[in-house]
Symmetry: D2
């Protein structure tokens, strides 16, 4: 990293900081500019020491040079990671399509949706059994009953099950039923939860928090990777900005930027990312054109009666139309939306 | 609009507000809820009166119902507007491709770029002669000399010229040379400038300010439309958010959202919207997939030596590759990047 | 709430929505405006039904009228809540001052800090034993060992202990040692954790998440209140914006705005809210002037050697100077920074 | 500045960049780290060259070291600038209080307000004659007629006149009547306007744009300073963030941060910064506590009937109460709200 001294820093302060850098086991390389002195600190592993150096006397700022994440970095593993979980495959040439209701509400609703999205070409089923809701007075999910319904839907359709887990103590239970454990945006920095999903043998879909930087997202992934689970897929689902005409602002440049920095697959959630049914399909098309490795989309038999997120859910017909267009765009950019060939998927 | 009274509002305060609403020439329609009273104000043209009602006694907030813009609204003119300016056509089925250097630096640089982008399929030439620069110490453009160079490039290539104007007193001069007058993001709410371009017979490309809401963008367009110029194309070029890995955050949901609200064409600028060469093409693809009516892209013969914006400029080769992919995506979504057929474009 | 129909909504769509509203047990009150129809839905408890109505045919948007929180609302309990926890009192005329190190690093560091902040006038001690860190490679806290050190510091100084808890399974353990359980910004929407602290007999300091709206903060408080714990103090600690010269943007208007909406005490964290030692004291002064019920401030014997947050920690001298000024400002606005008189605090 | 090469940069790329740096007249100082090479570029004036270096082969990013502004910098002029304009004095120990209506609506309204704010202790009068309004259908100000009314109010009360100018062609006219020319937030980067006010002999109040960084604000000031006008006061008036309960988010840490970086006085506008009458006074107190050199506040005889900004205007009584409290807080932080003693102010 680079320690930038203030313009008026004294020789004593500069010498002090050189000694501080060397006391950290780094090599200090001072450079005297025309207006200021900077000290390059060489040999660092990562920027753990930045925080303490920044409060040194005469220091203006400390500029990190290395990315703070390691295992997630493309510098460490240049080739893209492909993740397979039942019928789902994402990464490299594989584009996954995860679709289903926001909440599992009943066996009928879930089975009907699973059949419809399977028929339209989805490669996995989403559905919430444990629902983190902003208000304590909202529907909180069917919990284990919901997991059983999802498993029944997989049984019939062959679709891999993607579902959220919200507490470390639930991880084992959810892993018993699900193919992919979803960490929601609100829990992106819930470290005990990240460590817990890092210890089970299930792929993880990690959603970006609405105010998380890319470094923070990759460090959250690093918690899971570091705990021993290499199968982490990242998901852009929109950030909080001043824009109020959409529920969140969906920044698709995240997709190619993450592809430069990490080998992990990058998915996009156009449902939460927009919050309006009419905007879901255009942003799904845009995400695939930008190179996304998969989508996760909310679909409901009757959005008007949904217990959550009805305003951003697609009907079966809308989803089928969207899929047709998605195939054309994927082909235009040289990719393919297809189920994991290795999986034993029933017709 | 709806006047929402506070929970503890007195009958006198409610009566006062009913009279205030009626004094504005509106019909007051009070509704007593279980916890609060709201007063619907009917007959309003637009929400000009919101501001004064909001300071009434016992008022909690005033909720607008109607959009504040009129002429730009799709409710007023349902069919999409097509704008033609020389070789450029945007809107409805027409997708325009405006490309060229950030700044006009020399005749050679501009001519070389114009030829290269024409050959690759661009339908108009961009280039800055009057440059609004954040620092007074940066290159400020060649001014009229730059306009002459752009006109020479049009002469040879047939490409329509799109260039920025930054002061009301320059509008006539720039209009003498340009086919399309660009209003930059910093000037989106420079009302004397909007009125000035509203009075000339040239199409206008209006860029969204980095913190402008959609309503503010459409009201800025309304200034131009209201001054008599119907040929306004809107351009999303990125907003200011907490994201620092890109220069701005490019929110492509703006494209379908604006298409719902306005009949005006919507373009996207993936160069300023990302600020990094490597991200320009993926976001160009995404923009077209999302339904953009055109793109405006920075291209330079040698980005490393550019006087401005080198870090986000494409080389000729990069632009040609991007165009090939753009054509495929446009076709996948049923659109076509093509020059205005009516224009007399030289080979 | 108000259901706003689109301009072109058909009589059938309007009739459909009236029936939908009434099926929810609400009274529908349609109002035909000059351009649109709106339907006021009367009798609702809160806006749980907003989501499903918004996907109705011909609906443009649904505007909530009532705040979504109940127990936290000033409408329900007009008088301000005073929370007392050992030496700490916050709310109404009581301004609390919580100070101490970011992390508990050792007995010596913590004892020295506790003595220094006590002497300077702090009314409680902060210190992290369980540290949620952005990187898995950073210092994660001394855990139970840290809690014991904090308890020892309370033993000697009489200062109430405020410390963070990050997992539901740790709540009982932390409650054994602490007077106030802190929920960090990253966990503001960690609902299992909110419910867990809602079930213990300890005051809770709930920090606003960096992208949380005021409604979301109050709904998070509502989870705790709803679980049976009435002693929740809110804490503004900065939001994520485009500003990069500070670690977060500290929006002090939150203080008077929350005082209008809720009876719960409102604290401010000027350390995380700025991220720079030099800015902590000015923002502490501003917070007290704006009416904050307390501050939480990072203090360290030697910020340069701190294991975390050194760049935003005050030295003992800086804290003592800040306190002197804080007393003057509190007096100027008619308030007083003082320990809980009921507490048995040793000299 | 520091050129950071990518991890895999080749020796040829590194050599190329060393030559590029030296071709710019800078001294290249390459440092080989354990993972990457960085090149320190020494001798630069400012970072004008950053843009072109960033597109060099193998370059990851270019990190600026020096601030981009010069004349505004505290490094160049360490002592704070005091600006005096008629009855107004701001900077160093002088705290100014500018108050008056958003718009000049009539002679009566303006005279009444001027008298009331003078009596309550204001040191200058604000009022808009040229109003930049978001909608072309809103009241646009009385223009020269408004300027005459302001001059008449100064004649009677002795209060300096602060009023906005929105077009370069109006600068001379406005300067004929006003003591301080205000550049509104929308025009912060309207460079022809900045240059025009830089050429007249009137102090300038420059408002921060709602998405402007501190560097951008100081570079805007630099345009004015560079054109020859040294009397620039900066004004924080709120930024655009995701917060919707206030009109803007008012980040008061701007005040001490600017004081570190620049010698120019820093004012705060709590009216636009909050957008709600009830929040104006608390944020005025906070601003003074944070060290602001002045405030600019909207006051109206009857906010409910104001032609603009009624919802954020204070009544005469509210302003008088606010002033009393402001005096106490200013005293608590060792400052004084007082008129320019040198000015000839009538009783």
């Amino acid at each position: 990293m680079i320690v930038v001294m203030k313009r008026g820093a004294t020789p004593e302060q500069i010498e002090h900081m050189i000694q501080r850098v060397e006391a950290l086991g780094l090599k200090a390389h001072p450079i005297q500019g025309t207006e200021r002195t900077v000290i390059a600190a060489i040999g660092e592993k990562r920027d753990e020491h930045r925080t303490s150096l920044e409060s040194g006397p005469g220091v203006d700022e400390v500029v990190p040079i290395l990315a703070p994440y390691k295992v997630a970095s493309r510098e460490v593993k240049p080739e893209p990671t492909v993740i397979r979980a039942g019928s789902l495959a994402v990464g490299n040439s594989h584009v996954g399509m995860i679709a289903g209701p926001c909440s599992v509400e009943s066996l009928e609703q879930t089975m009907a949706t699973a059949r419809a999205v399977k028929k339209a070409g989805a490669t996995a089923l989403r559905g919430g059994a444990f629902k983190p809701r902003t208000s304590p007075y909202s529907f909180q999910g069917l919990k284990e009953e919901g997991l059983k319904i999802l498993a029944a839907a997989r049984e019939e359709t062959g679709l891999a099950v993607v579902t959220e887990v919200v507490a470390p103590s639930d991880v084992e239970l959810v892993a018993d039923y699900a193919d992919v454990l979803q960490i929601g945006a609100r829990n992106m920095q819930n470290y005990p939860l990240l460590e817990a999903v890092g210890e089970v043998d299930r792929a993880v879909l990690l959603k970006r928090g609405p105010s998380a930087t890319i470094d923070e997202l990759l460090l959250a992934a690093e918690y899971i990777l570091n705990a021993g689970n290499p199968n982490v897929m990242l998901c852009e689902r929109g950030i909080r900005t001043f824009e109020a005409h959409t529920r969140f602002t969906l920044p698709l440049a995240t997709v190619p930027y993450l592809h430069e920095r990490t080998h992990l697959p990058v998915l996009v959630d156009p449902s939460h990312g927009t919050g309006h049914t009419a905007l879901v399909a255009p942003m799904a098309y845009a995400a695939i054109a930008a190179g996304a490795d998969g989508l996760i989309v909310e679909v409901h038999p009757d959005p008007e009666s949904a217990k959550s997120d009805g305003y951003q859910s697609l009907t079966f017909d809308q989803f089928a139309q969207m899929m047709a267009q998605c195939h054309r765009i994927a082909a235009a950019v040289g990719r393919k939306i297809a189920a994991n060939e290795a999986a034993d998927i029933q017709a």
